[in-house]
Amino acid sequence: MPKDGSEVRLDGQGNPLWLLLELTYRCPLKCAWCNNPLDFDHYRNELTTEEWMRVMREGRELGALQLGLSGGEPMMRRDVETLVAEASRLGYYTNLITSGIGLDSDRLQALKDTGLNQIQLSIQSCDEALNDELVGTRAFEVKLDVARRIKAHGFPMVLNVPVCRQNIDQAPKILAMAEELSVDYLEFANLQYYNWAMLNREELLPSRAQLQRAEVDVRAARQRLGKRMTIYFVVPDYYDGRPKACMNGWGSIHFTIAPDGTALPCQEARVIKGLAFPSVRNASLEWIWKDSPTFNLFRGEAWMKEPCRTCSDRTRDFGGCRCQAFMLTGDASNPDPACSLSPHHYVVREAVAEANAPGRWPRPLVRRQAGAITTAFAGE
């Protein structure tokens, strides 16, 4: 193998590199692992086109290079093309993260014309019945059609497959489908257990044996396909014993703006109760990034507890995920319990054991839908 030796590890030198705009929480799908808040339907005051434009300008001035347009389903907004045109003018690399619903040929062409760089399309199965059962609506045929048209328009395409117990055994067939669609990047996205995925965790978490089989399939496909398709597959932190280097550290390179203008160091950060997240409606991105107390809260190492504080991995994994630490231990400054060195690691081990217990009573999946649940008594 040739050596590279020429890449320089990229950090933001204190500035954000990634700006993720969650344009809306509206979505035609009802995925049971959605990472939008459980009370997503309470957020009605989306930023206007002009406000998003200002966010993009200020983000670029801070040095952000990558722009993600996400949601919900971003195509629910009629101004995506306008925003992409402005993003291109500003010099972003623009990524559209979509379910494919609403991406008709006219809009696809308009996005091409306005300079969109790539499209990440989600698909949940290689099988229509399972796909549509998982998303709670008829979507599979639309997605396949959209995938073909994305390639026909010459976009690089990431096919994103959220991986759960229900679909992971289809890995070989999904790989074949991706190959047939000439996908450039296939991402087996092991679910991150926050919000709706957390609610359904016991039903969604795959078993270790399933993950190991899928890993073997992925390795074989990588050998076969070489440069033609890049395949991402990361073992979920629940099984890894090592915490993920979440967001490359809190307030390090990622900047997420929620539909209502709330500024977040990561999409899930609102699961941490008691933090005051600033809004782009009444503060500049520069102040939020550099000076707001919330973005500074878990920067550096002073906030860390043992064993993170003295751990040799702390500069690599930053103690893992703050949101997961809060959700599973009640304190966001605890070590991420996904880490085998965490005193709370038993919480993760128990969750894995429960999800895989023989004779377990299978519960129904709760689909993301307004009114499906109430958060009124959950301290939301």
Partner: protein
């Protein structure tokens, strides 16, 4: 690892169309942008890729770099070709037929 690379001096390389290569003032460096990814290039890598326009042969590219860095080591031919091979393996560049 053998010293020879498969990169031939008469080949002409170009940036793979899936990658966006440009100067980024905030990083004071050339960067490669691709779906959800960023590579910041060091000066040498940036100067090599800047010349991968599909119009310049590898031998011209090397001559050009030697003119720009006259005090560079004598091994530049080999190291440029090794870099191009690595960049090709990563899919950043492709040889123009």
């Amino acid at each position: 690892m053998a010293d020879e690379t498969r990169v031939q001096i008469e080949e002409r390389y170009e940036i793979h169309p899936q990658f966006l290569f440009r100067w980024e003032p905030s990083q004071e460096a050339y960067v490669l942008l691709y779906p959800e990814g960023i590579v910041k290039l060091n000066q040498t890598a940036g100067e090599i890729l800047r010349r991968c326009t599909g119009r310049m042969s590898v031998s011209d590219l090397i001559a050009d770099l030697k003119a720009m860095f006259p005090e560079a080591d004598a091994d530049m031919d080999r190291s440029v070709r090794a870099f191009l091979e690595a960049a090709n393996a990563k899919g950043w560049v492709r040889s123009k037929a």
